[in-house]
């Protein structure tokens, strides 16, 4: 067994959370509430060290007074507590939303549209290896049929009905695979916790 008090703290907290598998109980609630508190404390420090200090207070103290603008915009968030000027909170929100929307349009077009189309298009070079050529054709058919399944401007009848039917087959295989993959990711976390309990804490495995 470990003699390190930190390992013991980690192990006891792990067991507190696992106790939920039996039923909701005070140990689980303690662990859950402690997690919320510690996580918030962590992010307070994180944002102070990585956001406010280098991006606001250091430039301001270096005489870059343009940084008064984000300071004022940030302070406007607190206007929501004063009913008479509560609308002022929309200014920083509008600034942030406009920035996000503007930035996302070219980024999405480049990464999620052009790159994905580039990966889907089948060219003669794709058939340099026959097997990968066939898989590329299957991917192309799958992408087109999936897109047709989500095309609701016309009734899914005739050719549209058949292709959307193939589309749903691809979607179902994709959802199943994603589900299986997510479960496996969680299982690997579970294995990690069990390894921690049996290894560093109890010393039963290396």
């Amino acid at each position: 067994m470990s003699g390190d008090p930190w390992i013991w703290i980690g192990a006891i907290l792990t067991l507190m959370i696992f106790s939920f598998l039996y039923k909701d109980n005070p140990f689980y609630k303690f662990g859950e509430h402690l997690f919320v508190g510690v996580a918030n404390g962590y992010y307070i420090v994180y944002y102070w060290q990585n956001a406010l200090k280098p991006n606001l207070f250091e430039p301001l103290s270096a005489g870059q007074f343009i940084y008064i603008v984000p300071l004022l915009l940030g302070l406007m968030y607190f206007a929501r507590f004063i009913p008479r000027i509560a609308w002022v909170v929309r200014i920083p929100i509008g600034f942030t939303i406009g920035w996000g929307a503007g930035l996302s349009i070219p980024a999405l077009f480049q990464a999620d549209v052009l790159r994905q189309l580039e990966g889907t298009v089948v060219t003669p070079a794709t058939f340099s290896n026959p097997a990968s050529g066939i898989w590329a054709v299957i991917i192309l058919v799958g992408v087109v049929c999936t897109l047709i399944y989500f095309f609701f401007s016309k009734e899914h009848k005739g050719i549209l009905g058949h292709t959307s039917r193939i589309g749903i087959i691809f979607i179902m295989i994709g959802f199943g695979a994603s589900f299986g993959y997510t479960v496996m990711a969680r299982v690997s976390l579970l294995i990690g916790r069990i390894q921690f309990l049996l290894g560093p804490w109890l010393g039963l495995i290396d």
């Binding site: 307070i44 940030g74 929309r90 999405l108 799958g142 199943g176």
Partner: protein, 207 residues
């Protein structure tokens, strides 16, 4: 004014971020970098607001002695302790702050997500039924991927892991790509509607 100023600001910011993307000039890149720093600052202020709400919520719970109020003390004490330790003694790799992160926050978070393995498996057991072709395909692909990524899959059949890999890389990739393209077009349309002031729900309220 209460709606026009925020809408105008949203429009100006949106258009300038689109335009700067197509101008790879140092001045444009500098503008983008400065605005990004401002946005980080705004996010930090939004966090202050969120922390204030958390303190108010748990403070009220303790003050009114609501059910399970004792746990609210744990939340507030944990938050104050972690924040004080980090702000007072720093965040160096061997600091107390990092030790608490590694030995308190990481085990709690990791175990919570690990619990989901059990609940996802139990929910799947109760809800997955091979009633139709679609449901059967979903069930089969989930089963093949799960078994294929375990060492056990190799013992069932030597080519089982390769088959699971193929499912991930071919049919799964095709459907994910189709969905991703749809989501991208939807997101671009929504972003345009926000910039042009057609979508205004973010303004909230009536005034």
């Amino acid at each position: 004014m209460k709606r026009k100023i925020p809408l105008a600001l949203c429009f100006i910011m949106g258009i300038s971020m689109i335009v700067q993307f197509f101008i790879p000039h140092p001045a444009s890149l500098e503008f983008s970098s400065v605005i990004y720093k401002w946005i980080i600052v705004l996010m930090a202020f939004a966090l202050v607001l969120a922390i204030g709400n958390l303190i108010r919520h748990h403070g009220n719970k303790i003050h009114r002695r609501k059910e399970d109020w004792q746990y609210s003390i744990v939340t507030l004490a944990g938050m104050v302790a972690m924040a004080t330790i980090g702000l007072a003694w720093g965040i160096d790799p061997d600091s107390l702050y990092q030790r608490i992160y590694l030995n308190v926050m990481a085990p709690l978070g990791g175990t919570m997500f690990a619990l989901l393995a059990y609940y996802m498996a139990s929910a799947a057991y109760r809800s997955f039924r091979a009633r139709s072709l679609e449901a059967t395909l979903l069930l089969l692909s989930a089963f093949i991927v799960m078994i294929g990524f375990m060492p056990f899959g190799q013992y069932l059949h030597p080519r089982f892991p390769a088959f699971a890999e193929w499912i991930m890389k071919v049919p799964n990739m095709a459907s994910q790509r189709g969905i991703l393209l749809g989501v991208a077009f939807g997101s671009i349309a929504t972003a345009l509607k926000i910039i042009l002031g057609i979508e205004r729900s973010w303004l909230g309220g009536k005034e």
